[in-house]
Symmetry: D4
Subunit: 230 residues, 8 copies
């Protein structure tokens, strides 16, 4: 028997609550097609990330049954998404160039059944644009901050909200900003307390982290209440 080139982890959703998803970047077309064949056969919803419109065209994926592609985020879904979950996530992007990653957060959350509010182009070089929106942002259960260059938005946000702040550095920018290491390090070194960080451009991961955090509501609340009663 031939060793297969992939093994889908079908019980991941059950085990850790994460969406079933495939990172398309770095995979050969033939491997991606083999995965999609299996997914279509199973009929379960799946998310595809880092799938640019050129690859969709080259592989003729648009004709695939139940396939929907989003150009802005370079994500796609097969067979829709997961049932709605409670909770609201604010996705705040510092600049227009951060939109690819910010909408990857948004699309992943929507696939997972989570409600999202977007706030675009509110970088701190014009800090009043951000302050004007804080009432709305404070209403979210989790805040995802997407920013490149100096990523100063993460620190300012961390000082303005009490909810979890997940910071996603982006690779936009040139010179020392190119590649996103500056944004990554600035977010890790944030002077605001308890800001947590993902890999550069990892919008998908930030959305997964938010899903994990929203799960705390379901599990923590009742049991802790009970414990508080003892």
């Amino acid at each position: 028997m031939t060793e297969p080139t992939h093994r889908l982890d079908h019980d991941r959703t059950a085990r850790v609550g994460m969406p079933e998803a495939v990172l398309c970047e770095g995979k050969q077309d033939r491997h991606l097609r083999a995965i999609l064949d299996e997914v279509v056969a199973r009929g379960a919803p799946m998310l595809l990330t880092r799938l640019p419109v050129e690859q969709v065209a080259r592989m003729g994926l648009a004709s695939l049954d139940g396939f929907v592609h989003d150009e802005e985020s370079e994500t796609a879904t097969v067979h829709g998404g997961l049932p709605a979950r409670p909770g609201l996530v604010a996705v705040v992007a510092a600049g227009t160039s951060d939109l690819r990653v910010a909408t990857e957060v948004v699309q992943t959350l929507r696939f997972t059944g989570v409600r999202v509010e977007e706030h675009n182009d509110v970088g701190v070089a014009g800090v009043h644009r951000l302050l004007d929106r804080m009432d709305q942002i404070r209403a979210a259960d989790v805040v995802v901050v997407v920013a490149g260059m100096d990523a100063a938005l993460a620190s300012v946000m961390g000082g303005l909200v009490a909810s979890p702040v997940v910071a996603v550095p982006t690779s936009v920018g040139y010179g020392v900003a190119a590649g996103g290491t500056t944004a990554l390090h600035a977010m890790l070194a944030s002077c605001a307390q308890g800001v947590v960080v993902t890999n550069v451009d990892n919008g998908f991961g930030a959305a997964c982290a938010a899903v994990r955090m929203l799960g705390v509501a379901a599990t923590a609340a009742p049991r802790d209440a009970a414990e508080a009663a003892t």
Copy 2:
């Protein structure tokens, strides 16, 4: 009037729910003493981090009113801690050398009123030691993983629990492990979905992140339930 050398942000706890705390490393003794004088005068609880036992002795802090120092974590508290909050955090350390940071997480959480369970020296080179403890760890609302060197524990853990996983890289180790960049990058590049990361050795920040996440339980659950009804 002279410009002061510090400005305590007394309403931070109210605004963002974070503990009032001072990072002692990098501050001159004279500046730290000025801060402590103000804290003692106010009488509110405060946490001090990265305060080694030698500095406590040099500055004679043991005689300070309401001052309690913990040698393992190099933290101290003045005037006790905050009231108990609901929620349970598991703090999982890969090796004995990670204990300084792991107990900084523990002490910060305890100061903040959060219940903690510790799991020490369960690195993945003996993966069965970890698997034996997973039932206990899965019961926690948030899992904090503290690991240096290759930090492989974060990925393995991320694949085993559905709760939020906050990964804290430590600077233990030598060669490419020295300074913690390898652990940091490995955690950021984790193959497990939705693992979030703090700065190297930032146990305090991981605890603050957990506090933010536990807050989701209180806010998200009722409102989202209502929304789900519409």
Copy 3:
């Protein structure tokens, strides 16, 4: 007399037991063709690595006498391979994106006459997939682990087998994972004892290392037995 542009080291196999091989990447087409002309004239088996299918087509290599190309690994052989040698090597790949490198290990070993078993897509984010296969993997004389991103598979494997573990970092992934330095450093910093590492994406080198190790069986056993008798 003109200085030639290459000098094949024809007695390398005799001297150090390594396969005669040419790394095609970085060489001009005209230099590669000069090498192949000499190889074909000599009639001895040779391995070519990092030779993508586009270059095979551009240079018209398919019509070359005794030339066989493998698209997955981007390797080719001229005039078959070496005679079978004793020993079994397990090649374990963490993800589908690691297959280019993993099959370079496999093809190099097969060219060298070594028997190989492949295990694909068994990364530690679903650690039970790996544990299910350990009985098979433990039966191998040498284990080659191929992994990118956080490369946590190397440490977990190193704690589960007694045989030599050769870890090959791959350059798959984005952000801090891009280029493979994170995987490389994580493998070097492995908390498992005695894991050894090759350059990023160096599947060929890992196979050569395995060949060297399998040679220990032939040389060490009898002489050591004799020594033990004295």
Copy 4:
């Protein structure tokens, strides 16, 4: 004739308007003493930077004629300073740990005859502390921002004032912040327009840059007015 170990550039002030100064760090005590002997003999004002109180004591400098040391900034002057110049510089420090560098800016400017206003511990994690002070800061001709860690203060400031903003990264902090490269890169990648940057911890250089900028007032205004008339 013996080659001397130093050559003071006595006409630098005349040529480029910069203060005569000696960087003490990295110099042997015997070389520093030779320089001071020459300075005292000449009787002209000189600034010494990076001269910690321990070295002052070890070398017995306190007894030197006209020598005044400032512990906070680790600077000293010999024979007072330069005559007062027009212009006002605001020196804004993000945290208490940035004071060594911030006061180096202040002391250098005062030595040079420039009026200074200090604003300490106004980091962006509590952005309202900063906004409350903006009226005062906007009144300055040049703003020097001193910050370590994520250095987000530089971008926020750059979006709030029209005057030149000189950003000085500091080496305070741990993990990715250690050494100041994160602060340096974040300042260079600032999303605010026209923020300029000095080397890490180079408070002296920032002050010199401010002095150069204040000189524009004297030269630019009248001549440009004349030109505008043609």
Copy 5:
């Protein structure tokens, strides 16, 4: 209502005196077009940077009302520029390869209404070429030095003029010079006092910094004169 993909900061010029400008690199064509549509509708002057001639052709921008493109600097303006301001800036480029960035400085300054003098290909490997031009360069209010590779021109210049020196590292060169980090670090480590630095290739930022500095003339001179009178 849909969240927009950009928010132009129309009062930035009023607030911080900086030109209204759009960095085109890193933006999708559809986002850039949306911005231009808004700009054209408003009718106010705007600067576009990092807009190569290929993109102008691909998007058909030449037919846009009031659009003027400069190939050398890869900048464009819509609706002309700002009114003339007092002051003169010398833009000094070390080599022919630095011209893209140097002319970005020039075009930004001209858009902003500032008078500019260019000095090209005057690197320090032939230091007399530079010395011959110093009289002209000393007449400028601000000097912008654009250099890649070892960027030694910044230090030499800093020792020859009393006006502000803004150093712009460029990414030209190969080996250790590639990407501009060597030039950046050499400029930051300059042995000349008070040289300030921008991000690699950030000609736009250097021009903005010069504009900030020229503003000191207008504000500082009169008030300081008045203060000097008290």
Copy 6:
């Protein structure tokens, strides 16, 4: 019950054949003492690495039952070592400064029961010193090369022997050699085929790798012979 600060992995030797060992560096004295107390109580042999003579004196370890310290390698054993195993390892050190690490290899192998031959100060700047010794070195089953600076010895050795070559970079040297990254990278990039590498200064790991390789002799030979017969 209190969570312990360490968990010795007592069945590691059985599971993966590796020696029971403790890395002392990075551990607090109180933690190391707790481990030693447990070791002494069990009575089984244990190896301690990176234990400098100063720490032995400070903690009074010399009086510990069955404790033997080696100053050159900074290793110690408690309760002797493991039974003799077949096989011979050559440990080849490039320079005198590499001896700390080279003797760590030697002491670990001797503790594990493996026979060792040392070859010191045979760097390639005098390549004939090395060539004179090759007959002896070729007789070993595994060759461990220990070298810092440019680590050229690993490549030369890899081209001269057919046995496995384990390369250990050391942190000796200054400038670009400091910390051992240059040696590490040079060994990884070796032009010789099949050289494998450990972390910087990881003599212990290299010895463990050799032990794994020597185990191939016992397992591979008979079974493969049988397979060859089918």
Copy 7:
């Protein structure tokens, strides 16, 4: 008058003895053409480096008067070269992939009038190939070593010859070797005494250095002889 985009340094050859040369990489076609027009008009010999065959075709340079291109080295000359000079340089390349750079050394030296001997593909993984050629190499006045990857050839060579050794790292290789930093650092950290190094891939610079060194023969010999007589 318009500021020109370049300034040829026509008296460089007279001043520092270096060939008149243009680095084509990084220059726009229009700038390169302007330079060539001036060169052709002057009629003096000039060397062009990093000029790939594609650019020659695109710009139609083959039809230029006196233009000769060399594909291997990507250099070209206009109007021949300089008169013959005394001295012999050996250019030793480790591998076939180093030929682009090695022949850049050769072509630059030939343009400058220096006699050259090439030795290709003599890397240290087969050290006897090198030792066989040492008599020839020792006869040269200067030895230029061109090597990528681990660059071990530089150290071995430095230990075998008394003449100046100029080491040129190349960017060939992958993983940690990519870009040439490993080769560069290994050469700088060479255990052989007095090996000097150029930038990565800087074959032109190595040739210029050799020309400088050959000049020592003309100047040093007679005068020193005279001095020895006093």
Copy 8:
């Protein structure tokens, strides 16, 4: 027989013309003493580098027969030096902090019998100080430039002399200059042609390179003259 801890390469001087020398840094006192015992017994001249005055005192070396220590350069000689050789080397240091390294060049050359002229504190921030000395410097056969920080002196010098320029980066400075990588990279990226570079702080190596270059005078001149005659 015990393997010794060192092997002096006594015929190195004969083979490659380099001085017999020991790098003391990184060696244990016991190893250094063993080397010195052998040196004293042989009676031949030897140079010791990186031997600070504290180690001389701690080991009581002052009483060693024929031992002379130089505090400035931290070098020592045993049994004098080598006979005088023809040639003159100019050693040019940018700043007072570079003196440790510059005098290491000087002492090594003097030990080797070469005549030296020193030029101290002539950095390019005051370029006229350098230009005033060029007539003297041009008279040297080889120029060694020692500089830290931005190391701009190397490029300026390379444009002013025709003789070989050996550039030695130093680790002086702070921020991005700390450790000397900036100086190293700036020197490698020098815009002046044919400047060659050593490792950071490697004054000894620069002197050895100069010795190799001075040897060209003896060998190249007569033979080349003969060849020119054919």
